[in-house]
Symmetry: C2
Subunit: 558 residues, 2 copies
């Protein structure tokens, strides 16, 4: 597991890219600055896929991903083993020129993250930059067409301005006595506060002010060279400075764009929100229509697996006594690592987390068959690492492999036989076993259990809604009282329908029937199945009108 910040991003980029290229699948996880921007956007059993998308879209509009976990899983066939190269990227929206991001934080989300030891200083101080498509286009124009520099002069802080001026003064002192090809060194730490952004400004300022020098970018210094006019003319069209700045500001977007390019299967746990927030932050603003989003995300990531959805699917196949308690990620991970999940089928592949936080590059094995477990000191106690994006992405991939393996064996008799013959599953066969369940993404507390990214959403399997009204229309209905009365029946959502009536969505069929039964003779409330036509206000009006008309006609006839 390697932490990626702006201090090591460039050094690690090629390694990460090559790991991603050779991966069988890639697992992802994100940590956010917030989840719920408004109580109105809270999840509810009434939500269809499209309504949920709309709520989430409004929710996350201003929230950010602070930490992205990416695990690239490679298969080592002759050892029946998957090795995960896991990276935790801290990402921060660096401002530069006209690029400036405002984002929302939710206090309780930050408090949740501090319970899990999130390092907020690392986020701000060392977070890798990124740009979405719009910002990239804008910045390219500004950098290469030169309008940026004019803009920068207006926006850099007083302290930065002082640094730039001190660099210029240093060159002004040196320049008159320097001869051609003399070189001066302005250290990054002294003149640029160690920042590329400031180095770029100093380069541009020096080149503009001094017509007998040219500056060359270096790793840790700005180096003005005394040059002749002829030499300078050769350099003038050089854009390496701009290219370097662009690359540095693109930062994590280069990884994201690589993911898009590779089109490898993406695995996440309950990942609708992850997909949406990554689309919004690293790609383009979210489309307002769910259908359009599905189309676009499917084009970007053609194969997506949700381990939360898969766990619900697996539940249908596993014996009740072998079942896990809940399918939160940590629980599932321990279920497969230490619990009954180990014994469902044999020959489950090894899954190893490559540990490279220490230079030795030791390998950490978390598997049913582990014999050589070299935990890094930091990772002795797994519990502490949940909600760290890298760790969670590893666990997600771990669970995916274990579940896909069980699917392969339980559902495909052919494969079972081949295993019996001594042949183990290839990574292709493993992925093939999950393939029919691809692009299904779990929804929590909604009218449908999941959405399909590559087709229409499934019909709801929840019970029909209940219709609740106050008896005798004496008192208006009290929504929170109804919610309280029904709370003991499990997950229940209530929404007002009219002054005296409310609709209730119930989590499961047994609860719905229990409510109907228990409230059959309730003193204050009348509870029944909701029948849209029968209970529609229009029909009520029509009934009343017809009734009155009939009464009037009868009266007239008399």
């Amino acid at each position: 597991m390697v932490e990626i910040t702006r201090n090591n991003f460039e050094d690690k980029f090629n390694e990460i890219a090559s790991q991603l290229r050779s991966a069988v699948f890639i697992a992802v996880d994100n940590e956010f600055t917030g989840l719920l921007s408004d109580q109105d956007y809270k999840s509810s059993l009434f939500d269809s896929g499209s309504e949920r998308y709309d709520k989430l879209r409004r929710n996350i509009e201003h929230f950010l991903v602070m930490e992205v976990g990416i695990s690239a899983f490679q298969f080592v066939e002759d050892e029946n083993k998957y090795v995960a190269n896991t990276y935790t990227f801290y990402v921060f929206p660096r401002s530069f020129g006209s690029i400036e991001t405002k984002f929302m934080c939710q206090a309780s989300s930050l408090e949740f993250l501090y319970q899990h030891k999130f390092d907020f200083n690392k986020f701000v101080y060392e977070g890798v930059s990124y740009l979405n498509c719009q910002q990239e286009i804008k910045l390219r124009q500004e950098l290469y067409e030169g309008s940026l520099f004019r803009h920068l002069e207006r926006t850099i802080s007083l302290d930065d301005e002082k640094l730039v001026q001190s660099g210029c003064s240093r060159v002004a002192e040196w320049c008159p006595s320097a001869v051609e090809n003399d070189v001066l060194s302005l250290e990054y730490t002294t003149y640029c506060r160690g920042e590329k952004r400031l180095a770029y400004i100093i380069h541009k300022e020096l080149r503009q002010r001094f017509h007998n020098i040219w500056t060359f970018p270096d790793t840790d210094k700005v180096s003005p060279n005394k040059v002749s006019q002829k030499q300078r003319d050769q350099f003038v069209d050089d854009t390496s400075l701009e290219d370097d700045m662009m690359n540095s500001l693109l930062g994590f977007s280069r990884i994201f764009n690589l993911l898009l390019e590779l089109r490898k299967p993406i695995v996440g746990h309950n990942l609708l929100l992850d997909l949406m927030i990554m689309y919004n932050q690293f790609h383009k603003p979210l489309p307002s229509q769910f259908g359009v989003f599905k189309e676009k995300i499917h084009k970007l990531f053609p194969v997506v697996y949700d381990t939360k959805y898969l766990s619900f699917e697996l539940r249908k196949l596993v014996r009740r006594e072998d079942m896990w308690d809940t399918n939160v990620l940590s629980n599932l991970y321990y279920y497969f690592k230490n619990g009954r999940g180990k014994y469902i089928v044999l020959f489950s592949p090894l899954v190893e987390l490559k540990e490279r936080s220490n230079s030795a590059g030791s390998i950490c094995t978390f598997s049913n068959f582990s014999t050589n477990c070299h935990f890094d000191k930091l990772y002795v106690d797994d519990v502490d690492h949940f909600h760290e994006a890298g760790w969670d992405s590893f666990c997600t991939g771990y669970c995916f492999i274990k579940m896909a393996h069980i699917f392969a064996h339980i559902t495909c008799l052919f494969l079972l036989h081949s295993v019996m013959d001594g042949r183990l599953l290839s990574s292709r066969e493993l992925l093939a076993a999950a393939y029919s369940r691809k692009n299904r993404v779990n929804l929590i507390r909604a009218s449908v259990s999941h959405v399909c990214l590559d087709g229409p959403d499934p019909p709801s399997t929840r019970p029909k809604w209940l219709h609740v009204q106050t008896r005798g229309y004496i008192r208006p209905i009290d929504i929170s009282k109804v919610a309280e009365l029904f709370a003991k029946y499990g997950i229940v959502d209530v929404k007002p329908f009219s002054r005296y009536r409310a609709l209730v969505a119930v989590g499961n069929h047994t609860s719905a029937k229990d409510i109907l039964c228990d409230f059959y003779n309730h003193r204050e409330l009348r509870v029944s199945w909701y029948r849209p036509l029968w209970h529609s206000p229009m029909l009520r009006i029509a009934t009343w009108t017809t009734g009155l008309m009939c009464a009037y006609l009868l009266y007239r006839r008399r």
Copy 2:
């Protein structure tokens, strides 16, 4: 200088309160999560006081103060010395029950703060809680009327739920074999993650589940006692748990409310934004009308001094060769500490910063007459501490004393004589010298130089606006090009007036005249003083209409 976090807030509260009570005046400074939420709300020379208030109000609606610096200045008469007790409070909007804050961050503001070594982990991990008036009322109801606990059960996280359950299990094991007055200890660190919030929930849960125990709050543990029903009945109405929780969540608001109660002079540097954001965050939502805000803030803080405003006033009295370069806080501070500001008048009082970050409580003297300067190791290089709220509040108070002292001597001959007689200025006399300049708050880049919190704002002293139009109405006017053309004349703001015309506000009279002169014969633009009636679109329409009417009448007569 003492850093206040939630770890030492309770221990330090009485000390801070007593320092505030005995202060002659109190200086404040704040560090924010952002300053500009939208380009439309950028400061402009067109802004009146009320327009600026409106912009700032919209700007800061969602930004937060993360760090509050408060310096309480006491006067030691026989030493002609002011001693500052300075506190830097980290404040974080702790969530609890239905109290939940969403707030905005501006990337460049966070980057600015990291340049000044701001500790974001301290903000989230250790920030002191606070509540505004609405939240306080809501929470009081919820805590004392019991609705909160129902709410909490629905919102606490899975991890927290597990901790609560483990506490309950521990008591369930212990309870059957315990005899009356037996005591069990549940350590905060084990069962409450060291958090008061969780301790409160465990207390309430235990009291509700076990009817033969009572729990007593302790500093670091929850202690269930086995009690008889009779004993329990005595405790049932006890609200010490709620009181303690309320106090802990009020946190910094208790300091803010003390400031309101004490009504001491408040000193800040360019403090309109500080006043607004403190009002919004610790008191009530900002009123939409500037007049109403002025009335309310004046009631809360009857005497306010702005050192930025004072520095402009002082500028009128100081000889040009004795003047400071710019009046940013750090500059002013060094001007009075080491620069020419030292020599303007004699007998300037000593100003000491009480250093208590080390246990010895050493005193650090920053003064013209300093002899015994015991800088804390941390504070050897002042430069590094600017934009740390506590340090800035100290420097603000420092400058205030120095300026008030000069005002006293330059403007009051009487005082000058008394000093000549050997009598030094009392703190009363010092404050009296600034009194006529109280409640004037500086505005940057606006049509007025300052606003008055206790009366109508002054008239503008800026030049009249300029009216710019394209010659011959051929091409629509290009606002950014006009801004660029005029940029070399200093601070200039341009806003569109119609398709072919723009208005220009210029920072000073010389620049305005220079522009008029230089653009007299410009090829493309016609520049003149803006005359509202003459240039009004209505008058243009009226002129055209009249012209056409006359032409028509002439035509008819022929």
